[in-house]
């Protein structure tokens, strides 16, 4: 109570006042919207669907397994499975979603859909400037609005995307190796059969 606390406090605020003109540490305000801070790499807002290659319909990784729809806590994902199949990145014919809607006014960004997806098809976006004046339709995103390329995914989550790509490449290599050994075995069997039939 001898007053030194007050003097120390006033010295600190004086340092703040003077320092705010010189160093960014003492003036941490960012004047949004003219200046923006880049979001952190682990930032997450709402989900989006990843597609490989150029055509979003052909390259969409989602196979409409509906696991994310079932696991979503507020039930904001609405999926309709197709009747036919089309080949996926590994060449296997898979179903695809004819309707994939996410209601972002309900979504709570819990990332459970991302964690449970076995196909690395749904990931979290970092885009947050999503205001619209259409309260109901504007906040219901269909699959065309949700589909974004793998290059975009690399841009927003570089390390995560690299890991996902490595994982998918490993899977592809494994499946390629399996098909190769299967093809070799089949070729060997086919080669063995005529050789055996030729006797």
């Amino acid at each position: 109570m001898l007053g030194e606390g007050i003097l120390k406090g006033m010295a600190e605020t004086a340092k703040n006042f003077v320092g705010s003109y010189f160093s960014a540490e003492r003036l941490t305000t960012v004047q949004y919207p003219e200046e923006r801070i880049a979001p952190y790499e682990a930032a997450r807002v709402f989900p989006f669907l990843v597609f490989d290659g150029g055509d979003w319909e052909a390259g969409l990784r989602c196979v409409a397994c509906q696991i994310c729809e079932k696991e979503c806590p507020p039930k904001c994902i609405f999926i309709e499975k197709s009747k036919d199949k089309k080949p996926d990145a590994l060449g296997k014919p898979q179903y695809y979603p004819t309707r994939f809607d996410i209601d972002i006014s309900v979504c709570m960004s819990c990332q459970i859909c991302v964690e449970v997806c076995p196909f690395e098809a749904i990931k979290m976006d970092t885009e947050f400037e999503l205001s619209t004046d259409d309260r109901f339709g504007g906040l219901l995103y269909n699959r065309g609005q949700l589909a974004k390329s793998n290059e975009y995914y690399h841009k927003i989550h570089a390390t995560e995307a690299a890991k996902v790509d490595a994982h998918l490449a490993a899977e592809k290599a494994k499946s390629d190796a399996k098909t190769k050994t299967a093809a070799d075995a089949a070729a060997a069997k086919a080669a063995a059969k005529p050789a055996g039939a030729g006797d």
Partner: protein, 391 residues
């Protein structure tokens, strides 16, 4: 040439008034000076609001207003337009006459205080023999206006705020008066222009301001504390504590009446800083004798703005005091120190010249300060903080 600059406003008034017939000259001169005061201090108030917002912002690591005009300096224009065009809401159960009169009484009482401040050499509006007493009389009237505002709103929170404000203002008014009495004792006059004249001497180039004496420094510190409390500024702004009482006694005021309260508070700040500079900081006298060529009104207003800056600095630094802490502080610590200061000032007068009076007076004040401080700390169990962390 510098004499001309120093007296430029007096000469200007004299010249403007000379166009009128002789019988009208004196009243016209007075009216002119009054008009200047009525216009100048609100302009200064507008500037101060920007300085305050930007100053507080920089202290708090952020920008202040920086969109309206260059560096936000047109913000008071925007604020003024806003308060003029806002709807004036008077609660239906409020006492309409008193509710209307309260801000008027406040602003009038505060403006009256400017009449006795010497803003430069020969630049007092009314040179009264009992100028200081007049100033405090007007200050007492502001308390009544605060009470009127709080009571007429018929709002429990406003009434609480008004009661707290009045209690605080009365307690610290005693401190204000007692710390000014030491100045009156030493300078021998209640007239503010004579007090400034008494400080306008220099020894070895250094001025004889009262703040450079032990009793003057103590008196100035106590005066500053009392001034902060009188104008309800942080850390004594519980009556208008925004987080506790909405807005205290001016909760129910909107639009122009609220602007009048705001104006009244800042004008009170100016006039009390003006009085403080007159009493302790030498008024319009220059800090060094070789700087005497700078016009006197420039010194007065720079000292005024420095005081305002210190007010803003304290607002940004200190947390708010609780009502009982405030009152305890006033009656148990500051008031005894004030009375002791009176004694020390008297000793100063009678101990003759030389180093003896400096040593004795400083010694008494320091011992008393440290002693009472430690006593209060022990009684309030205040010491270095100890922290308890959750396991």
């Amino acid at each position: 040439m510098f004499e001309f600059l120093d007296q430029i406003f007096v000469i200007l008034r004299h010249w403007l008034v000379s166009f009128l017939p002789a019988a009208w000259q004196q009243p016209a001169g007075v009216v002119m000076s009054v008009a200047v005061i009525v216009v100048l201090f609100p302009a200064l108030f507008a500037l101060t609001t920007v300085f305050e917002r930007k100053g507080l912002a920089r202290i708090q690591n952020r920008f202040g207003p920086n969109r309206t005009g260059p560096f936000g300096f047109f913000q008071p224009v925007a604020d003024g337009i806003k308060s003029l065009t806002k709807e004036d809401i008077v609660p239906s159960s409020a006492d309409a006459a008193v509710h209307f009169l309260a801000p008027v009484v406040l602003v009038v009482a505060v403006y009256m205080g400017f009449a006795v401040l010497p803003m430069g050499r020969n630049m007092v509006l009314v040179d009264m023999d009992a100028g200081l007493l007049f100033y405090f009389a007007m200050g007492a009237s502001t308390e009544l206006a605060v009470f009127m505002a709080g009571w007429s709103s018929r709002n429990k929170y406003s009434l609480l705020g008004a009661m707290r404000a009045v209690a605080q203002m009365i307690s610290y008014e005693v401190v204000l008066l007692l710390s000014s009495v030491t100045v009156v004792m030493i300078s021998g006059s209640l007239s503010l222009s004579k007090i400034v004249e008494a400080q306008n001497h220099y020894t070895w180039g250094l001025p004889h301001w009262y703040i450079f004496t032990p009793w003057g420094l103590a008196g100035f510190v106590m005066y500053a504390i009392a001034a902060t409390a009188e104008t309800n500024r942080s850390p004594f702004d519980l009556p208008e504590g925004e987080s506790e009482l909405v807005a205290g006694y001016h909760t129910e005021y909107s639009g122009f009446k609220f602007a009048l309260f705001f104006l009244g508070e800042y004008l009170a700040m100016f006039s009390i800083s003006g009085l403080g500079t007159t009493l302790f900081l030498g008024g319009w006298s220059a800090p060094f004798s070789w700087l005497g060529w700078v016009p006197s009104w420039i010194w007065f207003f720079s000292k005024l703005m420095m005081s305002i800056f210190v007010f803003i600095w304290m607002r940004g630094t200190l947390p708010r005091l609780r009502q009982d802490q405030l009152m305890n502080f006033a009656w148990k610590f500051v008031l005894p120190m004030c009375l002791l200061n009176l004694l020390v000032a008297a000793l100063w007068r009678f101990l003759g010249d030389g180093w003896v009076k400096w040593a004795v007076c400083s010694g008494i004040l320091i011992v008393a300060y440290v002693g009472m401080g430690l006593l209060e700390m022990r009684r309030g169990h205040i010491g270095p903080r100890s922290y308890r962390y959750a396991e």
